[in-house]
Amino acid sequence: MSRKSLRIENLHVSVEGKSILRGVNLTINQGETHALMGPNGSGKSTLSYALMGHPNYEITDGTAFLGDINLLEIEPDERAKAGLFLAFQYPTSIPGVTMANFLRHAVTNVRMPDRKEGEDLISMRDFRKELKQKMDELGMDSEFARRYLNEGFSGGEKKRAEVLQLAMLQPAFAILDETDSGLDIDAVRVVSEGVNRVAKAQGTGVLVITHYQRILNYIQPQFVHILYGGKIVENGGPELVTTLEREGYDWIRAKYPNEAQVEDELESTVLTS
């Protein structure tokens, strides 16, 4: 399998006319694990939504390619079929739609991108078997498959459900948006192991978006980036995480006064994702 890259160049993104990302550059190769850190409101979630194609996120400049596919020209479902996956920070609930029914549609579409609408879904038997195995690996009760998607899920269940989807969809690239938030330490470990298993088996390129070091003890990044004021200001290795953990963002603030100003402006109009 030839290794693909996710290449983001000079990406500018606005939300409701407000400029959030101001020239992001980032390249991730399959098989690599990257961490993206940054204070609240620095634009981390904006990057993930923009890459996945949320209609409210307007790309004002720049490019994003997955292999030779121009992501910015295609719809969210086509991006998923191209091999991009986003584990949502706040997955929405869909009443009346069971996890199993939803996932069977999703898996069918992603694995058979040329299937025409209305044609058969993947075989129920094979699907169930695979789902059961993946749920066992994530320590999920089989009753989970019959529950309505994210409806009444606890914070931890939602995150597990996201990782289950990741495991079933086996993407080329996965963005994990704050997947560790709201999880206790055991859950962080189980979820991380799940991500690592997929990444290892599929050679998935992983981008972990997080505030905290904790999850990075389990999903160990080779590359670490700091997003600040709408730009990636620092690129480094795992040592960057240690520095941030020790010193916070004050040194970044001092080092990048222009971005600090942008950050302050954004802070005053806090964006909720």
Binding site: E75, P76, D77, L86, I94, F102, N109, E117, L169
Partner: protein, 471 residues
């Protein structure tokens, strides 16, 4: 997006897959357009009816002319009562086997899958084509137990006393303009009699098909469930797509006696040029249970509010209503429950979906009479709106004349969420697939109450409705 667009363009014509029609060359009789005393007398003559029925019809016609159109509900301005054929006889004999049914007619029911469904999971079938029932069957073991399932015209001849005893007792002629119209020109429909203690455990189904243009179909159904008996009756409806309007105006009366149970399921999928103006009412006696499951997917305008009058202590009523209003459609649906005895309970659940400029209205009445102490009622109506062009309204009327009651009422209107769509699309589902899944999820609490075959049918119909509907 280009594939979506293609599907959308294709969907304009393919949406409604029951829109075909057959030739009328073999028809036995077709009345001219228009309604007057002569029309009514002619119908009665052709059916060789007893004099009392003829008089009943003529009296009803007078009342029809006296009554004004309802000033609420849907827009009836384009409905021209003089531009309709009131009686069309497609064949002069009724088949007991499908081989006896004229080929042109049988072909229609084959396409609709009726003979196949009959073999698989039905206890009896009645198939009405235009004004009359062209096929009827009932499992022999049920007939041996005294169950009667036949068309109304035959019942009037063969079970005259029963018909005379109950006919128009639940819905009097002067109930409303359309009940009067039906009473004047009724033809076809089902007559069901379940003797005391007999439980019919698999459904009886009636199928109503309009084939001709500018047709009026006025079936009349009467169901009598004796003490401790049980039945599930299902009806389905379709018609060809024509540019001019047709009218379907049925009257359905049901009596459920002490401890009996009746479930009446409708999956109405009329073409979008049909006015569907139907009066349905049941009386539930002591400890009886009446359930209406009312699915409205087709028609131009539907005005229909299945009702249950709980007249005996401990009677129960359940009304589950699903309405889907697409382009050019108005579904004015809901339910009526009247608590007229102590310890009666009722539940109304309504789910409506509006898309492509469609309009759905929930219209409901909950009435608790003085003396109906210890009664409980719960009404839940949820509406889902798929786009800004579409509309949903709720008209809940509540009249309570008794203090010792428990009443719950919830209503919600939601728009299909951008976040929900994005979430599903990010997992590889197209916009249509995602919307369809959300809609199916929305009605799932109702659909799961249906028997398997109808749940599958309902989901299939919803998918057809959703095809090419978003963009």
């Amino acid at each position: 997006m280009s594939t979506d667009l293609n599907a959308q363009v294709a969907g304009i014509k393919d949406d409604y897959k029951y829109g075909f029609h057959e030739s009328e060359a073999h028809y036995n009789y077709k009345s001219g357009k228009g309604l007057n005393r002569r029309t009514v007398e002619e119908i009665s003559e052709m059916k060789s009816e007893p004099n009392w029925m003829r008089e009943f019809r003529l009296k009803a016609l007078d009342i029809f002319f006296q009554k004004t159109l309802p000033q609420w509900g849907g827009n009836l301005n384009d409905l021209d009562f003089q531009d309709i054929h009131y009686f069309v006889r497609a064949t002069d004999r009724q088949g007991k086997s499908w081989d006896d049914v004229p080929a042109e007619i049988k072909r229609t029911f084959d396409k609709l899958g009726i003979p196949e469904a009959e073999r698989k999971f039905l206890a009896g079938v009645g198939a009405q084509y235009e004004s009359e029932v062209v096929y009827h069957s009932l499992r022999e073991d049920l007939a041996a137990k005294g169950v009667i399932f036949t068309d109304m015209d035959t019942a009037l001849r063969e079970h005259t006393d029963l018909v005379k005893e109950y006919f128009a007792t639940i819905i009097p002629v002067n109930d409303n303009k359309f009940a009067a119209l039906n009473s004047a020109v009724w033809s076809g429909g089902s007559f069901v009699y379940i003797p005391a203690g007999v439980k019919v455990d698999i459904p009886l189904q009636a199928y109503f098909r309009i084939n001709a243009e500018n047709m009026g179909q006025f079936e009349r159904t009467l169901i009598i469930v004796e003490e401790g008996a049980q039945v599930h009756y299902v009806e389905g409806c379709t018609a060809p797509v024509y540019t001019s309007e047709s009218l379907h105006s049925a009257v359905v009366e049901i009596i459920v006696k002490k401890g009996g149970r009746c479930r009446y399921t409708t999956i109405q999928n009329w073409a979008n040029n049909i006015y569907n103006l139907v009066t349905k009412r049941a009386v539930a006696h002591e400890d009886a249970l009446m359930e209406w499951v009312d699915g409205n997917l087709g028609s131009r305008l539907t005005m229909k509010y299945p009702a249950v009058y709980m007249v005996g202590k401990g009677a129960r009523a359940e009304i589950l209503s699903i309405a889907f209003a697409g382009k050019g459609q108005h579904q004015d649906a809901g339910g009526k429950v009247v608590h007229a005895a102590p310890y009666t309970t009722s539940r109304i659940i309504s789910k409506s979906i509006s898309k492509n400029g469609g309009r759905s209205s929930y219209r409901g009445l909950l009435k608790v009479a003085d003396g109906a102490y210890g009664s409980k009622s719960n009404v839940v109506c949820d509406a889902l709106i798929l786009d800004p062009q579409s509309r949903s309204d709720t008209y809940p009327y509540i009249e309570v004349d008794e203090d010792d009651v428990k009443i719950g009422h919830e209503a919600s209107v939601s728009k299909i969420g951008e976040e929900q769509l994005f979430y599903l699309r990010s997992r590889g589902l197209s916009e249509t697939e995602a919307s369809t899944l959300i809609v199916n999820g929305f009605i799932e609490p109702l659909v799961k109450e249906l028997p398997m075959e109808y749940a599958v049918e309902m989901n299939k119909l919803i998918e057809l409705q959703m095809e090419g509907s978003v963009g």
